[in-house]
């Protein structure tokens, strides 16, 4: 039975939770490293995360992960307890990050159905060695301060430490079996609420551990005020039963009201973490003083990760969107039903309008559900920058702007890799070494800016560095060597030259580094971005830096399409690839000896593709002067498509062709299909496929 559990939902939850925890952990370490030391909060947070991972992986029987997490937990346990002044922080960060990487790799393999087989013993040994050194360097075992005195000490600096101590009874977290949360309210006129609260804590300490309470600083002048207003909230763990605890708390003097509830382990663990002020409960409002205690990082995290959030499989959202599309079409079928023609239906029209409005709203909501902020993706880049800087011996800051910009979930998955690549490029090729920077009169620390913003239906993601910029001469030279120049050098604008970099197998870097410069650079980025209907723009100023702009659509699923008609068939072209459409004059088109038709437009010659011929569709319109030419462009290649007529533009939901159809590999030039407003299906043309298909014919 247990095996069944392991393979199913539990495993999903484990993977999901652990991944999230690891992300938090990474952010935490990076923040700490930026500040130059591990604050009490950070240490607590890391300890808590490692503890949770240890517990859950042990439960899932991933012993490697579990013991690794355990060794890291040990490290931070020591840090929490002892002095943390003489610790090699960068080495510590390296150790923990190595651990994080290991666990990540394991999770990946678990996700793809494999077993967690990696060997963590080396990492564990490293951790142990570091731990031993820490212990050795410490001046004896410090006597832990008495909790009472410490809690009683005012001042924001102690907030972190105080929490350490609050939990010290409970180092492993598993000593006690039950977790509780209690909200106590005192009688209105009892006075000195803080002292009364203090005695409650004191009583609890005899039977419980891991006690935490809000407000935290009972001795601060406004603590009584807070307790009076919001009640006194305590969470703790104990072996005693609910009834026992209830009895104990009911003995409190001047007690007016008691709320006691049993919480589960994970929740308690979360609360033991740094930020969460027991959201939504009738607890103390943290207020500014608390905010000051926690520092900026934790507050911003508070905003992003502690909303009321449920996780839903993407497949369900996809299904929901499909149904939504159907719904819109069904609605149109009802409201524009031919049976209604010529009828005077006032009430019906009113009701229909109302329905229409609601449908639109639902549609917007469905789309917005799929939108995810870029924050997580951007945060990952911090790690990339850190690792790169260490390895390359450069100094650089990552500035993130607009991380709250939202894009479709599917898109996020597609831009993560390209972004990593761009950031690496910026650091490796863009940012100069410290000496070079100083010589050039720049700040010795480079800056990489990662910016996201919405622009109409697109999202712009900009990766900017303040490095040396692109070298026109060097690029040209390289292009000459590789025979990639398609025009005389003198005629090329800077931008055109820079965009040579985006072509396959171009790398200006002479030596191959670990991170970039294998010559499979930018073209991969371009490919990935184009795959989701986006584009890449490159700009650079010598000595001032390079800017790469990724223009990506808000959502993958919906694109602007132009419907064209050929015979009875309807096709859709992505509007983005259409350059112009026109009706040719007689005599503009001509045929070469091999029978290829071409057309001259403003002095340039373009090949013509007759849709009806290409797909063997019978139509009456075969003469160029009766139909319409649509000039499309893809990869700098241009083609004129000849169709009967243009039907108009609409937003379309891209669906893939059924698998059964795709197995006939002969269907060329089709990217998918879409539903038209009237429920009919239109085929979406793949411009790239058409252009290359035409070439090979």
């Amino acid at each position: 039975m247990s095996d069944q559990f392991l393979s199913g939902h539990m495993l999903d939850m484990f993977v999901f939770e652990t991944t999230q925890l690891l992300e938090q952990l990474e952010a935490c370490i990076l923040d700490a490293e930026k500040d130059g030391f591990y604050s009490g909060n950070a240490i607590n947070e890391i300890f808590r995360i490692m503890h949770t991972i240890k517990g859950s992986s042990a439960m899932m029987r991933y012993d490697g992960i579990s013991s690794l997490a355990h060794s890291i937990e040990d490290l931070f346990y020591l840090l929490r307890e002892g002095s943390s002044c003489d610790v090699e922080y960068s080495e510590l960060s390296d150790l923990v990050l190595a651990g994080v990487d290991f666990i990540k790799a394991q999770i990946e393999s678990i996700k793809s159905g494999g077993a967690a087989v990696g060997d963590a013993s080396k990492l564990i040994a490293d951790n142990r060695a570091f731990l031993a050194r820490l212990k050795g360097s410490e001046p004896g075992n410090r006597e832990p301060a008495k909790q009472e005195t410490d809690t009683a000490e005012p001042g924001p600096d102690h907030a972190g430490q105080e929490q350490d101590l609050a939990r010290q009874d409970d180092p492993s977290g598993s000593k006690y079996i039950n977790s509780f949360r209690a909200v106590i309210r005192f009688q209105e006129d009892c006075e000195m609420e803080n002292l009364r609260a203090f005695s409650v804590i004191h009583n609890l300490e005899e039977v419980a551990g891991g006690i935490r309470h809000v407000p935290e600083d009972l001795m601060s002048p406004d603590a009584s005020e807070v307790i009076r207003r919001d009640g006194f909230t305590i969470s703790f763990r104990t072996d005693c039963s609910y009834v026992d605890i209830h009895q104990l708390l009911m003995q409190t003097v001047f007690l007016k009201e008691l709320e006691l509830e049993q919480t589960d382990e994970s929740e308690a663990a979360q609360e033991a973490g740094i930020t969460k002020p027991s959201a939504g409960e009738r607890t103390a409002d943290p207020g500014e003083d608390r905010a000051a205690d926690y520092g900026m990082q934790s507050i911003s995290r508070d905003h992003t990760s502690h909303q009321n959030i449920i996780s839903v499989p993407v497949a369900k959202l996809d299904k929901l969107m499909d149904l939504m599309g159907e719904f819109v079409i069904a609605e149109a079928m009802v409201i524009q039903n031919p049976d209604l023609d010529g009828l005077e239906l006032n009430n019906f029209q009113k009701a229909a309008q109302r329905l229409n409005k609601i449908t639109k709203e639902i549609q917007d909501m469905v789309m917005s559900i799929r939108m995810v902020p870029l924050a997580a993706t951007f945060q990952k880049m911090k790690r990339v920058v850190r690792d790169m800087c260490k390895k390359l011996g450069k100094e650089a800051d990552l500035v993130i702007i607009g991380e709250e910009t939202e894009v479709d979930k599917n898109i996020i998955e597609h831009i993560s890799d390209p972004l990593v690549h761009l950031v690496r490029n910026a650091l490796d090729h863009g940012i100069e070494s410290t000496q070079e920077r100083l010589a050039a009169g720049k700040d010795k620390k480079g800056t990489i800016t990662l910016e996201a913003k919405s622009a109409g239906g697109d999202v712009l993601i900009i990766v900017r560095d303040d490095g040396r910029g692109l070298d026109r001469e060097k690029i040209l030279q390289k292009a000459r060597e590789k025979g990639m120049l398609y025009r005389p050098e003198s005629e090329m604008t800077d931008r055109e030259v820079f965009n040579l970099i985006l072509l396959p197998s171009f790398s200006t870097r002479d030596d191959v580094t670990e991170f970039s410069g294998r010559g499979v650079g930018m073209d991969v980025v371009v490919k990935n971005i184009e795959a989701i209907g986006g584009s890449v723009i490159l700009d650079s100023t010598p000595n001032a830096g390079t800017t790469v702009t990724l223009k990506i659509p808000l959502t993958l699923a919906i694109i602007d399409g132009m419907n064209i008609k050929v015979g009875k068939a309807i096709f859709t072209l992505p509007t983005i690839s259409i350059k112009e459409s026109f009706r040719p004059q007689a005599g503009e088109a001509f045929t070469d000896p091999e029978g290829n038709e071409m057309i001259m437009v403003r002095g340039n010659c373009y090949p013509i593709l007759r849709m009806h011929q290409y797909y063997n569709i019978s139509t009456d319109i075969t003469d160029f002067t009766e139909g319409i030419m649509i000039m499309v462009e893809h990869d700098e290649k241009t083609l004129c498509i000849f169709a009967d007529e243009l039907l108009g533009q609409q937003q379309i939901v891209v669906k893939s062709l059924p698998e059964y159809i795709r197995q006939f590999r002969k269907v060329k030039g089709l990217a998918g299909c879409t539903l038209l407003g009237d429920g009919n299906i239109s085929l979406i043309l793949d411009i790239g496929g058409l252009i290359y298909g035409k070439d090979s014919k």
Binding site: M1, D322, L323, G325, E326, I329, K568, A569, I570, Y614, Y615, N616, I617, K655, L657, P658, E659, Y660, I661, F664, R665, K666, V667, K668, L670, C673, L675, G679, N680, I681, S682, L683
Partner: protein, 164 residues
């Protein structure tokens, strides 16, 4: 507990076992195992897709799901017939592939006991009966029981040779 679940599945399969949806193409009557059938719909507007085998008529929009449709007449190399009111599309789900089968008329669902199902006659190679798995006897009639999986896959070789 696992046993109970297994039992339920067995029972479900039992109720479907031996039950066939019958349809006709011209004068012959065919049967298709009910467990493959998702639904039966009337004729729909079909969007043609170029460069497909003749018997794959195109794709239809089944409540937002786009599925291919195959004309079974053409698949069996029979004369094509104009579609009319009685023409039906049987939507089947074979190994997770949904496909619509265009047939002349759909008749009924019948149960054919196992003892009335016989192997098709084995003749020399020229005889083409690869789509027929079995033959069922119902009263005086004969139902040709289709092998659905072959309907979709057996054509690969043909497709390949056409390409070459």
């Amino acid at each position: 507990m696992a046993d109970v679940i297994d039992n339920t599945i067995d029972m479900e399969e039992d109720t479907l076992k031996g039950r066939f949806l019958t349809f006709s193409l011209g004068s012959e009557s065919y049967g298709i195992e009910v467990r493959y059938v998702t639904e039966i719909i009337g004729m729909q507007a079909i969007t043609e897709i170029p460069e497909l085998p003749e018997y794959v008529k195109g794709i239809i929009n089944l409540r937002g799901k786009i599925i291919p449709v195959m004309d079974v007449r053409l698949r069996f190399k029979k004369e094509p017939k104009e579609y009319n009111d009685r023409t039906c599309v049987i939507v089947v789900d074979i190994n997770d592939i949904s496909i619509g089968l265009i047939v002349d008329t759909v008749s009924e669902v019948i149960t054919i006991p196992e003892e009335d199902i016989v192997e098709p006659p084995q003749m020399n190679k020229g005889f083409n009966n690869r789509y027929i798995k079995n033959i069922g006897k119902v009263g005086n009639d004969v139902k040709l029981l289709l092998d659905c999986e072959k309907l979709l896959t057996a054509d690969e070789i043909e497709t390949l040779s056409e390409v070459i």
